[in-house]
């Protein structure tokens, strides 16, 4: 937009005197930007000072700073010369048309200044040329403004990090406790059905945003997939071993498979619908209730009765197998109930494939009749080297993963103290 009227003073001609200008702009009043840079010498602060109330610039809200910028930035000489030259004429026109002493009426002024086509065209020129520097400077300012804004927003974000205000994407520290609650919520909803907004509701932590939950959920799901894939791999691997081991009774071996798998939760051969219920133990990283039931299980390993409700998912195979066996505590099949009841116990059965992988198959001929070998998981209590190695490797490579049992961590001080006593000055030690 063009403020033409005030410019009258910048010109070197004698028209100034005629103008009843309220603006007393004089070139030598201003800092000398450059001799030829007439536009620069215009102090737009004064220029627009008197027209703030009016809708002088409907399109352009120019702050004094912007104007200063504008005045500082120079157009090309030619345009400026032109501009200044034609300004006078425009001023004359404006002066003539008193209702058009508005800057914004540049356009209308141009329209109405039909006095001379040259003026009109010149006004247009002025307008267009003026607009360029204006928009350029505005853009620059806008950019600076944006930079400033982004800077401040980053700062705000940093502050928010401390204040836990979730206006922007906050970096959430997923502590085991937080994660546990998350898993609890997810499992409650069903992992496939879990929606971040619902999870957020269930968790009831206002420091979290839906976005935090969503991304964590994504990670969690991929983690689970990975675990299940490992389980599948371990299952097929163990399956093969079992098949070889159960060579004597292939059919029995087959039956072995089912019950063998049965006690293990979240096992791939199980139908997918089983997974959600299986899933429950998964969330229990140190979940108190689970731990308690865990405790209950261990003291009474021999539980022929159907396992507690939360072990429900497995009944089909398990019961099926167990009944015909007529197992009694006294039989060598003792391990079986021990084992099967134990499986629900570990809070984690769904997760680690090494759970399942660890159970090497012993030949069914152990002295247990074929039929009875069914429910026998034929568990070797000693895990195979490969599965241990795999598990350890997994932990080493992904230490951020949740702990399978969620035991209370040891007190650092006492560990360090003990180690000092043992002669281990610092950890991690440089050599094993």
């Amino acid at each position: 937009m063009l403020a033409v009227s005030p410019l009258r003073n910048t010109s070197k001609d004698e028209n100034q005197g005629e103008m009843a200008s309220t603006f007393a702009i004089d070139t030598h009043e201003f800092p000398d930007f450059s001799d030829t840079n007439l536009l620069d010498s215009i102090d737009f602060d004064d220029l627009f000072a008197g027209i703030n109330d009016s809708d002088v610039l409907p399109d352009l809200e120019m702050d004094p700073e912007i104007l200063a910028e504008f005045s500082a930035g120079g157009g090309d000489q030619e345009s400026e010369m032109k501009a200044s030259a034609s300004v006078e004429k425009v001023e004359e026109n404006n002066f003539k048309k008193e209702e058009e002493d508005r800057v914004s009426s540049c356009g209308s002024g141009a329209a109405s200044a039909s006095a001379s086509g040259s003026n009109f065209s010149k006004e247009e020129e002025i307008v267009s040329k003026r607009e360029e520097p204006v928009s350029a400077s505005l853009k620059t300012l806008a950019k600076d403004g944006d930079k400033g804004r982004s800077k401040s927003s980053t700062q705000t974000k940093n502050n928010n990090n401390n204040n836990n205000q979730g206006k922007r994407k906050m970096k959430v520290d997923w502590t085991p406790e937080l994660h546990r609650r998350f898993v609890q919520a997810v499992e409650q909803l069903g992992v496939d059905k879990a929606v971040p907004s619902r999870i957020l509701e269930l968790m009831g932590i206002d420091c979290l945003t839906r976005h935090n939950i969503a991304s964590h959920l994504q990670k969690y799901r991929s983690h689970r997939k990975h675990l299940l894939a490992r389980e599948a791999e371990a299952a097929s691997w163990s399956h093969r071993r079992q098949m070889y081991g159960g060579a004597t009774v292939p059919s029995g071996g087959k039956r072995d498979m089912n019950p063998w798998i049965a006690p293990t939760m979240g096992f791939p051969p199980m139908t997918p619908p089983m997974h959600p219920p299986h899933f429950r133990p998964l969330h229990v990283w140190g979940h108190p209730s689970m731990d308690q039931s865990l405790m209950h299980m261990w003291p009474k390993p021999v539980a022929h009765s159907p396992p507690p409700s939360w072990a429900q998912p497995r009944p089909p195979h398990w019961h099926h197998q167990q009944v015909p066996n007529g197992l009694t505590p006294g039989t060598p099949c003792l391990p079986q109930p021990l084992v099967t009841t134990r499986f629900p116990a570990p809070p984690v059965p769904g997760i680690p494939s090494h759970h399942h992988a660890m159970y090497k198959v012993e030949p069914p001929g152990i002295g247990v009749p074929t039929g009875q070998s069914g429910p026998h998981p034929l568990i070797d209590f000693h895990p195979s080297i490969e599965s241990i190695d795999a598990a350890i490797g997994d932990v080493l490579s992904k230490p951020w993963q949740p702990l399978p049992l969620g035991l209370k961590p040891p007190s650092l001080d006492s560990v360090m103290g003990e180690l000092q006593r043992q002669g281990v000055p610092k950890i991690p030690p440089s050599c094993a």
Partner: protein, 93 residues
């Protein structure tokens, strides 16, 4: 300094938990961690003991379970032997 110690201890803790899942004994754990993760057995054992202190119930039950298992295994072996013996006797007759 402290952070790396803390994270190391956490790592050992995590590894021990994995071993617990496998129902390994402390000695087995020490061996496995030393072999697969290059962790000094003394460290493993210290962390294990500390874990035991913090989670007494768990470890008590764990120990009981493993003891039972041991007896069960033993019983099983004995029976195996008996059966093997009986078959041979039968065969020879």
């Amino acid at each position: 300094m402290d952070d790396s110690s803390a994270s190391y201890i956490h790592l050992v803790h995590h590894l021990i938990e994995e071993c617990l899942v496998f129902n390994m004994s402390k000695e087995e754990c020490m061996e496995a961690l030393s072999k697969h993760a290059n962790i000094k057995p003394v460290i493993t054992s210290t962390v294990w003991k500390e874990l035991e202190k913090e989670n007494k119930e768990f470890f008590e039950a764990y120990a009981r379970k493993n003891a039972e298992r041991a007896t069960v295994m033993e019983t099983r072996e004995r029976i195996e032997k008996m059966l093997a013996n009986s078959t041979t006797i039968r065969d020879t007759k």
